[in-house]
């Protein structure tokens, strides 16, 4: 614990209750990983529900999934994987201290995230016009499958809605990170926030990688 340099020990980002930046970074990283574990379980409740109802209403789910626009979903999947790539490049740029690249990649990540959410808005509004939103106005072309289809769309809105909420939250975190990056706060000695936000962003991406086939393709 005592092998870090005197320069690092007096870094402005070092908080008073840690001895070294290394210790602080270990704590932050461990904290982020554990937070992501809780996130997995948070989404896990929805996935459990999906599995159960998929089994109960297989035919309805199959039929209802045809109502989704696979091409928009596929486009969004590509957008999101792209944003994961720009985020990874941003983390790399923060480690090597390339400030302008870091700012650029963070802005690109924010833009791609916004595109994803924009497409989501289009998809949601389509569901409203086709009366596919659960509730009093829900209609389904095959009356025998209506109950299961309604559950399917409850899950669709619940799961993609929770995912989109995570995207929106990520966007709100990205803005101050971009400002901090532009002011040169990050460099090889300290890039923890960028790295941890990267973990969060990849997690949100991975959730979608599961949501897309479950909701659009099966």
């Amino acid at each position: 614990m005592s092998h870090s340099t005197a320069h690092a020990a007096h870094h402005p980002a070092l908080q008073h209750h840690f001895d070294t930046l290394e210790q602080q970074q270990n704590a932050s990283t461990l904290g982020m990983w554990w937070f992501l574990v809780t996130e997995v379980l948070f989404f896990g409740g929805f996935f459990m529900t999906y599995i159960l109802y998929r089994w109960m209403y297989n035919a309805s789910f199959h039929e209802a999934s045809h109502e989704l626009n696979v091409w928009l979903g596929l486009f969004n999947t590509a957008v999101l994987i792209g944003s994961s790539l720009t985020m990874a490049l941003a983390v790399r740029a923060s480690k090597t201290g390339e400030k302008s690249q870091l700012v650029m990649f963070l802005i690109l990540t924010l833009l791609l995230g916004s595109v994803f959410l924009g497409v989501k808005v289009i998809e949601y509004s389509e569901k409203f016009t086709h009366h596919l939103v659960p509730g009093a106005h829900f209609q389904f072309h095959d009356a025998t499958l209506k109950n299961g289809a309604e559950i399917y769309f409850s899950l669709y809105f619940g799961m993609t809605g929770l995912h989109a909420t995570h995207m929106i939250f990520g966007g709100f975190v990205l803005v101050p990170l971009i400002v901090m990056a532009a002011r040169g706060k990050f460099g090889p000695a300290w890039y923890t926030p960028i790295e941890l936000f990267g973990l969060y962003w990849h997690f949100v991406d991975i959730v979608w990688i599961f949501l897309f086939p479950l909701l659009y393709l099966m």
Binding site: M1, Q15, H16, H17, F18, D19, Q23, N26, A27, S28, L30, G31, W34, F35, V37, T38, E39, L41, F42, F43, G44, G45, F46, M48, T49, L52, Y53, M56, Y57, P134, G135, A136, N147, G148, E150, I151, S154, L155, F157, G158, L162
Partner: protein, 548 residues
């Protein structure tokens, strides 16, 4: 660094209070409401959790008053439903779950491992604000008229039939849940990354081990109940169907998801209590805890098995026989690590120089009550017996023995044990001993008759019972009388502990002559906990060997 402690308290020099400590280092309301000091945050929790305890206790007294007579003459059935719901929600989510981790854990985890603070002080403060926000939602619901679902929010009643305050109540529990997740996260990261030099895993105090295990449950269980409550809210507000059969959903799914958290939640309540008891038993027997490693591993064992037993809440649902038998077996299994702890505390007491100070009285009370609670848990794990006593007062008595007899007594014991450290002052020992005895007597008089009532068939959650069952009334009157005695026993500490905080004699760093890092620093500790980072060279509970 550590001196080997002897049995005699240091009486050569009168103890003094340090001039500057965490309580008086800074002044003003802002220095408290924006503090990042884990010790001050612990006190913020102490005030708010105690307030909720008082609120929950008032509702408990209303329940007992109503049941003193067979006729439902004090409260209407509807009001009674709201009263026991309020009692349950407040006590479970706002007292029992946060009490020991958020107050004692917050105060002691960094002190016991020789750290300056928790790893994430701002998240720690944020979790108090989350707790308060959740609590305010709950209070708002009470003001607006209350909910009648019971604390379990069973669907489809909660989503289709009950009033719409369910949404706000569920949101309150949801937000308080995040407070719990963040507290657990903070403890785990702190224990992993911030231990003082020499504080290896096999030297950790058992209080730390039990908080480590508790934090695991908080983090792995709470998100599941959070998303479940979110689904209830979505079903209620947007009519997204998940649990309502009218919408094609399955209410039993709600029960699975709910109990996946809510059974482990019992261990969130009782595991920290076990950690407190280990500390007290060692300190007042002047011996290392017998089988330290087994006790530590038993904490993790309880956390692990605790996740696999939720189905015993569902023996009377559509669950398959195979599932029921499996859950029954696993429920029996969880008794093993619990029993290990009880046996090892007893073995620690054996041939120790036992001092019956007030924390020790609470600890011995805990061991007795927890044993009764645990053994009656075995009754409920047996499918046939469970079906007989399902939803009767037997269940009510059982979980009150575990959750109140266990958690509350450990909390009170811990509060007394560390009160000199928290405030730097000594309280009146005779008063403390008196109240410990009153609590024990009042508790048993309240809840033991309920085992009999339940066995005789009195169902829970009813505001009246048949007048011709005279024995039911006798037992209910005993129970209500016990509740009044218990209330007195719980009220006394409020008075003498508060009095001691202002007028008590200075405690000195180590009034009990106990062993552990928290007793090495001043009482109250400085803001940074230790003047110099301690270096640990001895195992936990390094009490002097007995001389014969």
């Amino acid at each position: 660094m550590h001196e080997v402690r002897t049995n005699e308290l240091d009486s050569s020099s009168a103890p003094t209070t340090p001039a500057v400590h965490y309580l008086n280092a800074t002044h003003g309301a802002a220095s408290w409401f924006f503090t990042k000091d884990h010790k001050r945050i612990a006190l913020l929790y102490l005030y708010s959790v105690s307030t909720f305890f008082l609120v929950g206790g008032i509702f408990a007294m209303l329940v007992r008053l109503e049941l003193a007579t067979p006729r439902g003459d004090l409260l209407s059935a509807e009001t009674y439903n709201k009263v026991f719901t309020a009692h349950g929600v407040v006590m479970v989510f706002f007292f029992l779950i946060p009490a020991i981790p958020a107050i004692l854990g917050n105060f002691l985890v960094p002190l016991m491992i020789g750290a300056k603070d928790l790893a994430f002080p701002r998240i720690n403060l944020a979790s108090w604000y989350l707790y308060m926000t959740g609590g305010l939602f709950g209070v708002a619901v009470l003001v607006m008229g209350g909910v009648d679902t019971g604390w379990t929010f069973y669907t489809p009643y909660s989503t289709a039939a009950s009033n719409s305050h369910v949404v706000l109540t569920a949101l309150g529990a949801f937000v308080a849940g995040f407070s719990s997740i963040f507290t657990g996260l903070n403890f785990i990261v702190t224990i992993h990354t911030m231990r003082a030099p020499g504080m290896t895993w096999d030297r950790l105090p058992l209080f730390i081990w039990s908080h480590y295990a508790t934090s695991l449950i908080m983090m792995l269980g709470t998100p599941v109940v959070a998303v479940t409550l979110m689904m209830v809210v979505l079903e209620r507000t947007l009519r997204l169907g998940f649990f309502n059969p009218d919408l094609g959903g399955d209410p039993v799914l709600f029960q699975h998801l709910f109990w996946f958290y809510s059974h482990p939640a019992v261990y969130i309540m009782v595991l920290p209590g076990m950690g407190v008891i280990s500390e007290i038993v060692a300190a007042f027997s002047r011996k290392p805890v017998f089988g330290y490693k087994m006790v530590a591993m038993a904490s993790l064992g309880i956390a692990l098995i605790g996740f696999l037993v939720w189905g015993h809440h569902m023996f009377t649902t559509s669950q398959s026989v195979l599932a029921a038998v499996t859950f029954s077996f696993l429920s029996f299994l969880v008794a093993i690590p619990s029993a290990i702890k009880v046996f090892n505390w007893t073995a620690t007491l054996y041939r120790g120089s036992v001092l019956l100070d007030s924390p020790m009285l609470y600890a011995i009370g805990f061991i007795g009550l927890f044993t009764i609670g645990g053994l009656t848990g075995l009754f409920l794990a047996a499918i046939g017996l469970d079906i007989h006593v399902h939803d009767t007062y037997f269940v009510v008595a059982h979980f009150h023995y575990v959750m109140v007899g266990g958690t509350l007594l450990a909390y009170l014991g811990g509060l007394h044990y560390w009160w000199p450290k928290i405030t730097g002052k000594l309280y009146s020992e005779p008063w403390a001993k008196t109240s410990a005895v009153i609590v024990f007597v009042g508790f048993n008089l309240t809840f033991f008759p309920q085992f009999v009532l339940g066995y005789m068939g009195m169902p829970r959650r009813y505001h009246a019972y048949p007048a011709e069952e005279l024995s039911w009334q006798v037992l209910n009157v005993l129970s209500s009388a016990g509740a009044s005695i218990l209330a007195i026993g719980l009220f006394l500490p409020l008075i003498y502990l508060t009095y001691a905080a202002f007028r008590g004699r200075p405690a000195g760093p180590n009034p009990w002559g106990a062993y552990g890092l928290e007793w090495e620093t001043t009482s109250p500790p400085p803001t940074a906990n230790f003047e110099v980072t301690p270096i640990v060279t001895k195992p936990a509970y390094y009490y002097a060997p007995e001389e014969h």
